[in-house]
Amino acid sequence: MIVEQAPVLIVVICLMSAVATPLVGWLKRELCYPWVILALLGSTLCSVVVLNTVMHEGVIHYRLGGWLPPWGIEYVIDHLNAMMLVLITGSALLVAIYSKRSLEAELPDRTIFFYTLYLLQVTGFLGIVITGDVFNLYVFLEIASLAGYALIATGEDGAPLAAFRYLILGTVGACFYLLGVGYLYMVTGSLNLAELAEILPRLYGSKVILVAFAFFMVGIALKMALFPLHLWLPDAYTKAPSVAGALIAPLMTKVAVYIMLRVMFTLFRPYFSIELLPVTKILLYAGIIAIFMGAIMALAQKNFKRMLCYIVIAEVGYMVGGVGVANTVAIRGAILHVMNDVVMTLGLFAVAGIIAYKMKNNELTAFDAIFKKMPFTMAAFLVVALSVIGVPPTCGFFSKWYLIQGSIMAGNWIFVGALLFSSLVNVILFFRIIETGYYDFGASGAGGAHSHDERSVVSEAPLSMLIPTFVVAAAILLIGLYNQSIITTIIDFAVPKL
């Protein structure tokens, strides 16, 4: 029975726990933390069961309320969905375990409602990824977005303004998506993803469909922070509290990439997206510019979290450019990069949170002589940094390898150049930090006795923050070592037939 109902349990467990969290917190505030971990553990187990079922039995159709589509709403879970579900629940669980100390230091009196919104945001992401109905996707997109705006606005100085700007731009994106749904509904009469995919090919010459597709793409690009619509991202993720940044940064943009893959390849056939309209060319150029711009801006930053935000923008450029190259190998690399980027960004923001918690300082100078003080954290950071640069056997190398291979096959040398340039810039960025951390520069000794006392006080990060970081580093190595079997069992089924 559990296996049959597992798809709906994923969303329902998370949602009902979110509703119950204020009650649990009212009884006893300290119970919130174990309650959140329990709820996310339940959702993670259900999503692993669903992944297992999809790998053995194929696509799952779950009809909510028993109504047949298109009159009711249904869940359609194939390999791409199942992979995203496991990634979302796994990351949320790891960040929840990590969150206790960081939240006590940054927002001591708001933990109950912070955890409520945390679970609601995870519910929103899960609902987006699992559904097979275009309007339902809009509703859950708004749940995730509203929870995100509120979580970001609780941060440090200047966070409310960053959250307000994110709100305005995010609402424009979601309303453009809704307009696209409206235009599609007007000429087809249906809201079900699978049925629309069958009705639409007759209508590909219609101007209404063209406008609908354009609005889908622009709305998703706003949510995805694709150049030039990325202006909300650096401020929002830098000023957010560390836990909110560690939850939202790995997941929001990748869920938007998932929506783009669904719209381009499941809703509209690949023939429409690649040959009929030059959409993939536009995506390719946008991806290339995003990579260059993200790399160059990241070099100029003094604040560690802001540098990470520009790295995220460049990573979105990899994924979108990979889809833009539009051959099987490159799209395989792009989907593998979605998986890798969730794990890598989670690792980077987790380390940033640990540094902020221990050093109370977000600048790059916080890394002074840090290898002696926090050797374990820095070991995990080293693994994540090598993955972002793209060194085997970490997972980042393999997704870059497929992207480069695909674009060489398509003759796209500019994209290859952009990928290599970005790897070089990442080397400079991370080795700068490692150099600052390894050697004991005189600047930190200029304070004399005062800084010597400070240095002897700072110690290793607490265990509840360290273990999730280690799990992420281990996952990076495991995904890299097992990437062949992951690709043949999951990703190759998710790549559309071109």
Binding site: L117, L146, Y185, V187, T188, V208, V211
Partner: protein, 96 residues
């Protein structure tokens, strides 16, 4: 900044109006939206749900999951307002 926004708004508006060329005429009873999924709701609402109000039966029965999502949106907004606006009074903190 304002002229750039004005130009962007006019371009987006013109693009939307370009899309209206192929739309079915307003109020056409044979348009795809009126003949594909909704006739089932109108003819079967009494049989499936015994509710003469068709909007209610679609909202609460056929597409009840959307309504669950909608109530969750309201709940999220309420929690967000509490998280953001509650003053550090001390009255609630004493309860622990």
């Amino acid at each position: 900044m304002k002229t750039l926004s004005l130009i962007v708004s006019i371009i987006v508006g013109a693009f939307l109006m370009y899309g209206t060329i192929d739309m079915p005429a307003w109020g056409d009873p044979n348009s795809p939206a009126s003949t594909h999924v909704s006739p089932y709701y109108i003819t079967h609402t009494e049989i499936d749900t015994a509710t003469p109000n068709i909007v209610t039966s679609v909202l609460a029965d056929y597409r009840g999951y959307d309504t669950l999502g909608e109530t969750t949106v309201i709940f999220t907004a309420g929690m967000a307002c509490i998280l953001l606006l509650r003053r550090r009074g001390g009255r609630n903190e004493a309860r622990g």
